[in-house]
């Protein structure tokens, strides 16, 4: 300690060494250095880009993880099978009525109108292909995706989010229970299977209702099997691949997105931040998948 510091300071003296030291960095401004400034701006852009792409990259990695683990027999322990069964029951059993009802409404609103207006325009031969391209390929996956997201996806977001922020996920890890294996994989695969099942049921309900309405109103006189035959004939070979693939993919991404949104919650999150985030992400994912499959296919 120097002698200067040992000298007693008079009350109300002119210099306070502590305050002086605190004020020192503010006294002089740093000189402008171009490459420092550029580096800071680039770092900012990088941080923002990484932040925005973070969830997308997590989704990509986790998608591969789910597919990879699902083919390993060791992954399918009885606890994992149980979670798969419970989630599948909840997705298909719980969403069945809502899906059939939505399909019926779509049949009334879209299918019967399509049949009516195409008949009026003398384009009745195009009915099958229009229904396949518009209702089954475009509308059905989006509506089924939204139903999945609203009924079960948001449930996964909430459940896993609360487990993560509450510390239960950490406790599961302490017991050797991997949340990815125990929760994410079976739930995602149940959503996948559920998406396909509900998509096919939705399409069938929409077409059948559309036919019934058109038949009652006298727009068409064909028997039901002729109507369905026309629809099936209008399908191209690619449709047999793309339509199921679209339902499967929508279910997969909705399930995975919901689980990951929940598992990536931080201590600062609560239901007010988790639910809007989960819903907007889920909706974006469904739309992105729909658009992706519509790109020149």
């Amino acid at each position: 300690m120097s002698e200067d510091n040992l000298t007693p300071r008079e009350g109300g003296g002119d210099r306070d060494p502590i305050l002086e030291a605190d004020a020192l960095p503010h006294r002089g401004r740093k000189p402008f250095v171009l490459h420092e400034w550029l580096r800071e701006k680039l770092a900012l852009i990088g941080r923002m880009t990484r932040h925005q792409a973070r969830f997308f990259l997590i989704m990509l990695g986790a998608s591969w993880g789910v597919i990879y683990e699902s083919f390993r027999s060791h992954s399918w322990r009885r606890t994992v099978r149980y979670e798969f069964g419970v989630t599948l029951n909840s997705v298909v059993g719980g969403g069945l009525i809502a899906t059939l009802f939505s399909g019926t409404l779509t049949g009334v609103a879209a299918v019967s109108q399509t049949i009516y207006w195409l008949g009026l325009a003398g384009l009745a031969k195009m009915t099958g292909s229009i229904l396949i391209n518009v209702v089954i390929r475009e509308i059905a996956p989006i509506l089924v995706g939204i139903l999945l997201l609203g009924r079960n996806g948001m449930l996964s977001v909430t459940e896993l989010g609360l487990l993560t922020t509450g510390g239960q996920v950490r406790s599961m890890q302490a017991q050797g229970l991997d949340p990815f294996l125990l929760l994410v994989m079976p739930r995602t695969l149940a959503f996948t299977l559920g998406g396909f099942t509900l998509g096919i049921l939705f399409s069938f309900a929409a077409l059948l209702t559309g036919y019934v309405i058109s038949r009652i109103s006298g727009v068409i006189t064909n028997p039901v099997w002729t109507f369905f035959y026309d629809v099936v004939v209008a399908m191209s070979p690619a449709d047999y691949l793309i339509i199921p693939l679209k339902f499967i993919t929508v279910g997969f991404v909705v399930g995975l997105g919901g689980c990951l949104t929940g598992l990536t919650a931080t201590n600062e999150d609560n239901l007010r931040t988790l639910l809007p985030r989960g819903f907007s992400r889920g909706l974006l994912i469904v739309m992105a998948v729909s658009v992706l499959f519509s790109l020149d296919l």
Partner: protein
Amino acid sequence: MDIRTVGPLLELNKAVPSFEESGLPPVPFSMRVMPGECVVVEARDPENATQFADMCSGLVPLDEGSVKFMGLDWTELHDREVNALRGRIGRITHRASWPTFLGTHLAITLQQLHHTNRPMDEVVAEAARLSEQFGLPGLPVLRPGLLSSADLLRAGCVRAFMGRPRLLLLEDPLEASPVELERAFLSALTDARDKGAGVIWLVRNNAIWQGYQQGVTSMWRLADDGLVAVRTG
């Protein structure tokens, strides 16, 4: 995975926990727990006790040193091996540990059902037997949120002693517990030790373990400068 069946069950060898990840003091921790031993660790802060138990389970990253369980260093194992080893640890924790979407019966048996091939009937029978031993009328099937805190504590004890745990990490289950739980707990503890389990019993208050003083192998205190050995008796 070559598991050692002799030698220390748990070995903290100058393990320095990451302060950012755990909040534990970043000083070397050294301790050994042999099969059948019961080590009492006095930790005044429950959060530190939980983090210390996490460190023993290989959940806390280390800046230096190593933590070995059954002769295996946590950091040198793959995820599957780590999870399989953790399946051999029975734990009672202050941290929320009951998944809200499962019934209590499933949460109790989950670890056994996940890590073993034991028949379901056998697992359920053991869970029911332990439930009665700890003072429950049977295996609770209600959701954890519907159980009283005393019953949840009993269920936590059942879960920790299920199967044949090799290591028990017990975060003060007797604090604020019903009086009749003490006898059942100490009895289960002795049984587990007889079968070769090592026990780390984390306590806040020294008075709690005095009834089991003769069974305690060693006593430590979790302080700001790490683990300090305390003379017993």
